[in-house]
Symmetry: C2
Subunit: 197 residues, 2 copies
Amino acid sequence: MRPDTTRQVLLNAAFHEIHRKGFQSASLTAILDNAGVTKGALYHYFGSKRELGYAVLEEVVSDHLRTLWLEPLAEATGDPVSQLKGCLIKAGEQLNEKDIRLGCPLNNLAQEMSPIDQGFRERTDVMYKLWLQTISSALQNGQQLGKVRKEVDPGETALFIVATLEGCMSMAKNAQDKAVLLQCGKGVLNYLDSLRT
Amino acid sequence: MRPDTTRQVLLNAAFHEIHRKGFQSASLTAILDNAGVTKGALYHYFGSKRELGYAVLEEVVSDHLRTLWLEPLAEATGDPVSQLKGCLIKAGEQLNEKDIRLGCPLNNLAQEMSPIDQGFRERTDVMYKLWLQTISSALQNGQQLGKVRKEVDPGETALFIVATLEGCMSMAKNAQDKAVLLQCGKGVLNYLDSLRT
DNA sequence: CGAGATACATACTGGTCGGTATGTTCCTGT
DNA sequence: ACAGGAACATACCGACCAGTATGTATCTCG
């Protein structure tokens, strides 16, 4: 097997195991079994379980964030509300029942680890700040182009939007019901429309 | 020590340990040390770690929910928006920095355990449904009394409110910053006002 | 062609975990 | 007074865990 392939296989297996069980309860043995490699390989590429977790955040999870939210919002169409609604709908469509039961990988890790591990907290914090910053900039841009109401505080609104998104995912995860996600998502869509001029 | 006292001490110690570490990573030994009793006492009152966790949810966490949200909303003042804002402000005031770092106990347990343990899921689900139902009824009552806009769908709105609340707590927990909670809470307060006639 | 480095595999270790078996004290009902 | 159960305490168990030490095959470079 090619070296970087093994590393990637390990990262993917780790991502799924962590997504299912959480970081602390994720079993290295289970990750190894799923990846089809042995402990020697793992500790060849990662110094510890924690470093593996950091790498999952920095490489796998941040990729998801980028493709789902950051890149679509970076296109300067000038209508951030439509862009945000598009992201939301697309994200909702591609989530199956299992994904909903497992919840948002970023939120899961942030909730579990931020109070007990500074390294995780710094990394999730960077990602959230990027997310917020991207939405905030898009809203600001929309204001300059007259698409978004001037009274809207971009930073505050971005925070509220991300909070509601994570909240919707949480409620749907606990209810284990996609209908809850859709109903809650409707609330977000209405709120987004209220930002329009 | 009185029998029911020991049980209560165990429940409190378990609640705090679970709040800090999550259920799966909560150490029975740590709980025992904090409670000042031994393993014999614990297994005299609870059949397993899991049953202890269930009891924490049903007795400790549900008490918090009741006193903070359910009972204040049950008073039929006829103005649910003011009631909700009052609950939110009161809840925000009594949270110190440590509470914010640890997050909402109900949400923590729901997020961690609902995908991997049906018993936890059922119990958190009951509590969320109670919460949603109480808010929904209050909104409906407010509509009949002309305090809340008729177009508001009580159930959908209750879901959106709870989602945003949990989302705000999540964002503040990850940021480890009460300012984030307050800023996010402002967004919720604005939204609540938008429900008024 | 050899030497070191890379890329793993296997076997093992100390520690922690939830859970149990057994012992002891005290209290209560008869 | 004494029998039985409630309310613990102590000691121990097997399972699993992250991490390590060591071995080995392949590949690269001089």
